[in-house]
């Protein structure tokens, strides 16, 4: 069979004319497919976006770290001494990798934001979160230094919570350095001066690969810097990193060691970083689950609807199939006829669905500061709809193929 004959046998123009006459069933199928596509494309996009947010790593050793707060409550409580001896005790434990006193940590949702710039009069400074850590910070958080060096012990300043003076050196995250200096050459940023809040000059000493700001969902999540300081606040937060597999044991061991060692304070708010993360992203996780359930059940329902509509249609056309067979259509012709008819409906549904999906996305972008829907999601959703359609219609179509040509002469 040559191509021209093949195309003639496909009977494409009559299929279009037939569909135009069967307005309601056709429109119903088209609208089902297009709405499903619009919802699936946007839903999938939101789901993947959520999933990426939830699964991005903050840069610290999330699964082996925990934090606690030590709060002194007596008058003669010496903060600096307590921090010194607490950290020394904790660091001495064999299963502890390192520990640090910190003002904040990723997922804590509390911290300090500063504006960084390369010149003092900048009108568009870079927002970044500050982490106040001593020289153990890099190891305690499990950070990766990609250029420059860590602070030395004598660079670390101890300061009261009321001062806002910065030590002369800072470490920046790669994203922060990129935003400030507009370069990927980290080496070239070392030794460069930057301004904090347009008034304090500090020098870049090193670059950290990743360290997220403490506020999940913040627009500049990847912007942060480390300044070598320990703030002597009555309540001190320690972040402790332990060897893999020892987290639960070490949490209780350290809690009791600290509590027993110093009766002038309370150990509170002890929690693993993983748990803190779960709490922060709980709502997102629930939304993601609901979204996936909606997408899957919608696909299922639409698939069932298509199967039903196609079965009904083929049942109604049994006589017509018999006539076509009597007039010379073979089984392949019947198979191709309905496959093509379905493909045409699906394609129109997909086309209008894409228009719909873009409209829905534009609405989401304008009303809810949502991101633009990438083309790839439309393509994926279109492929899903084609596949769904084939799965949903293959059984009724095979039933059509089995209609006997004698149907034409029966039951006049």
């Amino acid at each position: 069979m040559n191509l021209k004959v093949f195309i003639t046998r496909l009977s494409i123009p009559p299929i279009f004319r037939t569909l135009a006459r069967q307005k309601y069933p056709t429109l119903m199928l088209i609208s089902q497919i297009s709405i499903a596509l619009a919802v699936i494309a946007n839903g999938l996009f939101i789901a993947v976006d959520r999933f990426q947010t939830i699964s991005t790593l903050s840069g610290i050793d999330e699964s082996n770290s925990f934090f606690l707060t030590s709060s002194g409550f007596t008058d003669n409580f010496n903060i600096q001494n307590t921090i010194h001896s607490d950290l020394a005790k904790i660091r001495a434990l064999p299963d502890v990798v390192n520990a640090v006193k910190t003002n904040s940590f990723p997922y804590s949702d509390s911290g300090d934001e500063f504006a960084l710039s390369t010149n003092q009069d900048s009108l568009s400074p870079i927002p970044a979160a500050s982490y106040k850590l001593d020289e153990h910070g890099i190891e305690a958080l499990g950070l990766e230094l990609v250029a420059g060096e860590n602070f030395s012990t004598n660079e670390v300043i101890w300061q009261s919570p009321h001062t806002s003076k910065f030590a002369p050196h800072v470490l920046l995250t790669t994203r922060t350095a990129q935003a400030l200096f507009n370069t990927d050459d980290w080496q070239s940023t070392l030794g460069e001066p930057i301004y904090i809040d347009n008034n304090q000059l500090v020098i870049v000493k090193g670059i950290i690969k990743t360290l997220h700001a403490p506020w999940p969902g913040w627009k500049h999540l990847e912007h942060s810097f480390i300044t070598p300081s320990v703030v002597t606040h009555n309540s001190s937060r320690y972040l402790i990193r332990v060897k893999p597999g020892t987290l639960d044991d070490m949490m209780s061991e350290i809690e009791s060691t600290l509590a027993l060692g110093n009766k002038q304070r309370l150990i509170r708010k002890m929690k693993s970083i993983s748990d803190a993360k779960k709490e922060v992203y709980g709502a997102d996780l629930a939304a993601l689950t609901i979204l996936l359930v909606v997408i899957v059940s919608l696909s299922f329902i639409v698939g069932l609807g298509i199967t039903g509509a196609t079965s009904l249609k083929i049942l109604k056309q049994t006589k017509q199939i018999g006539i076509r067979r009597a007039l010379g259509a073979n089984k392949y012709d019947i198979f191709r006829y309905f496959l093509l008819e379905n493909l045409i409906i699906t394609s129109i549904g997909i086309f209008t669905g894409i228009v719909f999906a873009i409209a829905l996305n534009v609405f989401l972008v304008e009303q809810h500061a949502f991101q633009k829907l990438p083309l790839s999601y439309l393509i994926i959703a279109a492929l899903v709809m084609y596949l769904l359609n084939i799965i949903a219609t293959i059984k009724p179509i095979l039933k059509a193929v089995r209609v006997s040509p004698i149907t034409a002469t029966q039951g006049n």
Partner: protein, 221 residues
């Protein structure tokens, strides 16, 4: 042209076995016009279905145009139906969602004719049955007699050697039945072999040859 020798057809259901054709013997020559009569349930439609390759049979031999067609596959049978046989049914059996043009086009597309050839044949055959002016109409917009004329145009557009008709006038009043009969006679005069099942003795008399089917067997009149 058409030669059936001891053709048998058995319908089996869970409860009963119906011997619809028993040693059915018939020979039809080129250009003949055979009217088939017989009581209800005698096997007329079954014979026509087998003759038209719509149905397989269980015994005997059937030669169509000198070719043994007993053991052909679906594709081959469909092709022979398409090329050699035209069908006219009692219920007209036009496709309701297609206009007259597209209805006549159905067998021509399966034949693989190009669009100019199809257009020419569709117009000629609709012209022949006097409906060329109504090509864009839907079947539902026509009377029964007109619909049957379209069905005849559709059956003839591919210029088949055989025209098989199962009670083509069964749903028509006498006047329309006669005009369809006149049309069939004209077609037969032009050389097409016709086998027509009918309940109408007056119409049957107008055929060149009459056969009577009883109990799944032929008895010539």
């Amino acid at each position: 042209m058409l030669k059936m020798t001891d053709v048998k057809k058995v319908f089996r259901t869970d409860l009963v076995e119906t011997h619809a054709l028993k040693d059915f013997n018939l020979q039809v020559g080129e250009g003949d016009f055979v009217a088939v009569t017989g009581p209800s349930g005698s096997g007329k439609t079954t014979f026509l279905n087998i003759a038209g390759l719509l149905e397989t049979f269980d015994g005997g031999t059937y030669e169509l145009d000198g070719q043994d067609v007993s053991n052909l596959n679906d594709k081959h049978r469909s092709q022979l139906r398409n090329e050699k046989i035209g069908f006219i049914f009692q219920g007209f059996n036009l496709i309701p969602d297609l206009n007259l043009f597209d209805n006549v086009d159905v067998p021509l597309r399966y034949r693989g004719f190009n669009s100019a050839e199809r257009k020419k044949r569709i117009e000629n055959s609709l012209e022949m049955v006097g409906l060329a002016q109504r090509m864009k109409h839907l079947p539902s917009q026509l009377s029964g007699g007109q619909q049957q004329r379209v069905a005849i145009a559709r059956a003839l557009a591919g210029e088949p050697r055989f025209l098989l008709a199962d009670e083509p006038t069964g749903n028509l009043d006498t006047k329309m039945a006669n005009s369809v009969m006149e049309l069939l006679k004209t077609i037969n005069d032009a050389g097409t072999t016709i086998i027509m099942v009918t309940h109408d003795a007056d119409l049957a008399k107008q055929a060149r040859r009459n056969i009577y089917v009883r109990d799944g067997q032929v008895s010539e009149l």
